[in-house]
Symmetry: C2
């Protein structure tokens, strides 16, 4: 459709620019901050440090002197009104990400994943219509796949409250793009792993919990036979997708490097898919410790499980030139090395 | 797929049963109440009487002695906790329905169309898991049609905040059905007209405004050439869909009368589609007064317009035996007659 993609000069896009990252002390936000600093951006990180959510000051221990850290909740409109002013880019990553928690306490999930997103967008509309926004959405929006790999034409049919609210949060961005002209795009992340991830509990997905378990030499419990397929992205790849999406918003549309991502959404994905059992076994091999035990499905997890899932990243590869670069084995190795050194900061 | 549908004995389903209707003083709720009374149900109507929303005591002037009217807001959890107890059926119709208002005040739309729905469902989960729920959703969920007629396989892609929040409200019902076992189904209504509709302002869709305008002998303003196609259901047909859906939930699944609607959603629709210009001309002919003027599109309406829309009701016809019965000309005639007599109660 378009000519060969030219890698954008990211330093030229971000050098000296003001960037706000919500959820900035979390797993992906802090890794993104590091990358944006390297590209010369002036970075403000907003995080509310809600216990058990993922914000962790240790995640920025090496860059704390070079970023502005602002503790605030995205639900707090007046703080956001202030912080949003003068920003060139907004990486909107703050969220409640636990599916199980969303079923136990749906109202908190609603407030953070719906109301706050509306509030942030209203704040942009009233205070900074020129800001460019990249939103962190989730493969969770698709629910149980009807076909594999899941592409962006797949119906959206979430199986839990968190998935529904993430859909709403994403679509607010697209509507504000289309109706109010606030440039926004959305990335639907699949399972992400790497340094900086929450390991304290097992309610934010399996991968962090697996990593913690083998790091501690413990027993990974697999529900059923562990044959469910998943795809996993290393956080470095995810960070690059955010950076490329923002740079493409900045360039505007249409241009030689593909159509504008404004008002669009993109799957992140990785290949090949891997079963949870294979993943557990690979982690145990790489760590040189840990073991697997198969256990029956807990009722509340079975009710919202989605079976096999892996996605297609053809759209973002074609339009923005992104593809995953970090092989799973290498990514897991680097991750295990990180936690072997720093585990105490994540417990 | 299934054998010929046997019309359910609705009197046997609803006779003596306790039924709660949220939005019960509104257009569809009050017509539904009348039908449920005729079927022998014990009917409680909940409405918050928010000015400009559609609740109108005149809508129940003929049945006020035979229903229980409870003024309360669905956002008020403790009231709903009390009212939900002991109900056999919940017809969940309360909502903010103006697309334009949702763009001007997205938070109120969020509170009513998302938070209240979650709150009602949590109330059911904690107080009355046996209740059977029919939710009033909207064709608005589909956004701009990719193909016509729109069936239930059409992607959901709302173009405004109201549409997004209606999606979330509907999907909460489906998730609570699937995860918590609270029997719920959803009807995606298309444009509905008939006695009892709000006519006070033009922010709840065109049809009520057209009817008011010709009743007053005024000028219908058509945006552009008025060629956009729509389908319209008379409220009596919509009421029958609610009753049939609830009866099917009661029967459970699977059975001779088709699959259970639990956890499913259905389009209401009508054929043939009609252009806004044809509709205006038909109303003017039937009323014997009024006129049409073509005006340019207002910016804020253009931004969220969906072009042509008409739906397919094949799924609900096949599974629940519903089809529209009231021809457009006859339905409009009856509606005009109603407002010629009662217009002052709707201004």
């Amino acid at each position: 459709m378009t000519g060969p993609l030219v890698a954008p000069d990211l330093g030229a896009v971000f050098g000296g620019r003001a960037v706000l990252v919500t959820g900035g002390l979390g797993f992906i936000g802090s890794n993104l901050a590091r990358r944006l600093l390297a590209l010369g951006a002036r970075v403000t990180l907003v995080d509310s440090m809600i216990p058990e959510y993922g914000g962790n000051l240790f995640n920025v221990h090496d860059i704390a002197e070079r970023v502005r850290i602002n503790i605030a909740d995205v639900r707090d409109r007046s703080s956001m009104d202030h912080l949003i002013q003068g920003q060139d880019f907004l990486f909107n990553l703050a969220g409640q990400v636990s599916h199980i928690d969303s079923m136990r306490d749906p109202f908190t999930d609603l407030d953070i994943n719906c109301r706050s997103q509306l509030s942030i967008l209203e704040s942009c509309r009233l205070n900074n219509r020129a800001v460019k926004i990249v939103f962190a959405a989730s493969r969770q929006e698709y629910g149980r796949p009807e076909y594999l790999p899941v592409d962006e034409r797949h119906p959206v049919a979430p199986v839990d409250v968190n998935g529904i609210n993430k859909v709403a949060g994403e679509w607010y961005h697209l509507v504000y793009n289309n109706v109010h002209g606030i440039a926004a795009t959305s990335l639907r992340l699949t399972n992400t792993y790497g340094p900086g991830q929450l390991l304290r509990h097992n309610r934010q997905g399996f991968i962090g919990w697996f990593i913690r378990t083998v790091t501690e030499g413990g027993e990974i419990q697999l529900y059923g036979d562990g044959s469910q397929l998943r795809d996993l992205n290393h956080v470095d790849d995810v960070v690059e997708a955010f950076v490329l999406a923002a740079a493409a918003l900045e360039r505007g549309a249409p241009n030689a490097a593909g159509p504008s991502p404004a008002g669009r959404f993109y799957n992140l994905a990785a290949e090949p898919p891997v079963s949870l059992r294979e993943l557990a076994e690979l982690l145990i091999e790489l760590a040189g410790r840990g073991r697997v035990r198969h256990v029956p499905w807990p009722e509340e997890k079975k009710a919202i499980d989605i079976g096999n899932y892996y996605g297609s990243h053809a759209r973002i590869t074609g339009e923005l030139g992104w593809r995953p670069r970090v092989p799973l084995r290498e990514g897991l190795q680097r991750t295990l090395r990180y936690y072997e050194q720093h585990l105490r900061h994540y417990l």
